[in-house]
Amino acid sequence: MKLSIRTFVLRVGFAGAVGVFLLLAGCRKTISSSPEATAYPGDNYPDIFQSFWNGMNTNYVFWGVDKTNWDNVYTVYKPLFDQLTIFDSANEALAEQYFAQMTEGLIDSHYTLEFMLTGNGFSPSQYRKLQTDPNYFTDSAFPGAVLDSLIPAKYIDPASLHIGTDTVNLEGSNEPFTAVSGTINGNILYLYFSAFALSQAGANTYPVFNYFFSVLHSGVPALKGIIIDLRGNGGGEISDLDLLVGQMVTSEYTFGYTRYKNGVNRLDYSPWAPAVVKPWVGGSVNVTVPVVALADHLSVSMSELTTMAIKSLPNGNGKFIGTQTWGANGPLTSSVYFDGGQFTIGSSAFGSTGYMFVYTSSSMFKYINGDIYEGVGVPPDIYARETNAAYLAGDDLVVDKALQYINTK
């Protein structure tokens, strides 16, 4: 009798425990499998919205720093897109308006939406700057006017003046590429270039860079300082960092950090990797004289990174003079290289260019001091801004400030 009770209890107890175990084991949440943003068909507005929202969720590299409530965006805008039942011009206008409203607060200052059906675009950072200051783009005399008629004529020693313009291709569009170099007062080396496209320097601009680097390497006996003028520079190729700044150092140094997305969820990030400047493979010199970066509110992306690289020169001889920069310093490269960054939606329905291209940073940048300047801009060490009045009077107040700084060193 004792044995049969024992057997009975054993069997019932064991069966019950197995049952509870299996029941509970099946209670785990289903693993959702949101497809890539590019994998949605995109043949209707609700689908376009979903692919965009998911793409941002996965690819945007500033979540955690950016204060935009992306879940709230979903709640508010999903019903609105659900109401857009067919593709026509009225609905397209509404859709573009919604997309702009959804993204207008994003801090990524590279960020641009390109609507392929209409050719329209929307840049949150540009939108915000114009909201704050309608004359943001027009109240500076730089770069065109100052460069064309002031610096070459007034500041550069005539015998040393090198100036040229070529056409380069930046992200698919042809743009004029101007470079100016020479000495000021015989002992200050000056370089201006309009974009980071040094690898594309042609017949007219190559001699300008050749002159600058030749003087840098030969070491003008009494070289007192170097001015790198990045005002109005919209950025360009990352590899120019070593080509330019790397020729002024003889050992690698760190000036900041970058991190990337490494998972599908919003806060999945890689560890911070050091952003380095390496001595250029073609040769470099250890520059100890003051190196001044001139940058302004129209200095974007690579010109901001270069400004920060100069500020952090290992000899402590770098200085940034000018005004707060644009605030787009998250490095950006082709979307195939990193988990995050730019993406296209609606390719299945609209062809390879898709319905919309989302231009966004591939990584987040943190300056060596721990500050993140995305959406904010790099603050100058010494404030100086050109004005129309000064220009008309024949002065570049920013170059004046740089010369004054160098001459006090």
């Binding site: 004792k2 009770i5 024992r6 209890v9 054993l10 107890g13 064991f14 425990a17 197995v18 509870v20 175990f21 509970l24 084991a25 209670c27 785990r28 693993i31 959702s32 499998s33 949101s34 497809p35 890539e36 994998a39 998911n54 969720n57 996965t58 955690g64 992306w70 879940d71 979903y74 690898s199 990352i238 590899s239 960092l241 070593d242 080509l243 790397g246 900041g256 990337y260 490494n262 998972g263 599908v264 969820n265 919003r266 806060l267 890689s270 560890p271 990797a273 050091p274 952003a275 380095v276 390496k278 250029w280 493979v281 990174l305 490269t333 195939v336 290289y337 988990d339 591939s362 940048f365």
Partner: protein, 252 residues
């Protein structure tokens, strides 16, 4: 109601215990290797896979044997639950090994069957764990450390030919907005034991720890959950507490 259920369960256990000659408290030590997998979705991560990784665990089993076929036990355990994120194809060479250490408290019932000394058993129960620390070791492409700065325009065959890799091996910094450091889960185990002198028990067990809670807090809509699935091989030995006491206080 809970008190009633608890009282009934306790009464049943005492009844069972009373039917048996061997009601004993035991304790011991156990440990062994494990293989952990992170179960998640990487549908939107091309050229990425999550591989399992080996780890190990060590614990101090403490239990009460109600009968020769039923015991209740726990084992405060130090356990690693590691996994590896591996990029493939053009991205080969990029990876991140995640070494995660948990302090785990399982509670399980052991159902034994078989002969007098050599017996088989099944463990069923649950556990609570605390994610104590983590270490990440890997290589990632470094966007601000390009390989070709001399414009040689040679097409790279891998991402690490485009950007130098950044190798890291560092403590994992927890993100309070993201990381869920408390884990609840289920235990299932199957093993064999050998009893010596009716005092010492040695066992070898295959054990499965199935996390039922997400490794992340729920912080976003459409979040892909992450669960640890841990398969271990545990070797252990226990001794009757009564035997230890009698040895310690034995009169010479």
């Amino acid at each position: 109601m809970r008190v009633l259920i608890f009282s009934c369960a306790a009464g049943l256990l005492f009844l069972l215990c009373g039917l048996q000659a061997r009601c004993q408290l035991f304790l011991g030590v156990e440990g062994g290797p494990n293989m952990n997998y992170l179960t998640t979705s990487n549908a939107s991560e091309p050229f990425t896979k999550y591989d399992g990784m080996r780890g190990w665990n060590i614990g101090i089993p403490v239990g009460y044997r109600f009968s020769d076929w039923l015991s209740l036990q726990t084992a405060p355990t130090y356990i690693q639950k590691n996994y590896n994120i591996v990029r493939t194809g053009f991205f080969t060479g990029v990876y991140q090994k995640n070494y995660n250490t948990y302090l785990q408290l399982p509670v399980s019932l052991r159902f034994s069957f078989g002969g007098k000394s050599l017996r088989g058993f099944v463990d069923l129960g649950g556990y609570a764990a605390y994610w104590k620390s983590g270490r990440i070791q890997g290589v990632e492409p470094n966007i601000l450390n390009e390989v070709d700065t001399a414009y040689e325009t040679v097409n790279p065959t891998s991402i690490l030919g485009e950007n130098y890799g950044y190798s890291y091996n560092q403590a994992y910094t927890f993100n309070s907005a993201k990381d869920n450091r408390f884990e609840l889960g289920l235990i299932g185990g199957l093993g064999i034991s050998y009893e010596l002198f009716q005092t010492y028990t040695f066992y070898l067990e295959g054990r499965y720890y199935r996390a039922m809670t997400d490794q992340q807090k729920h912080y976003e809509t459409s979040q892909a959950p992450r669960y640890n699935d841990n398969y271990g091989l545990t070797l252990g030995a226990t001794v009757e507490v009564k035997k230890i006491i009698s040895t310690l206080f034995k009169k010479h």
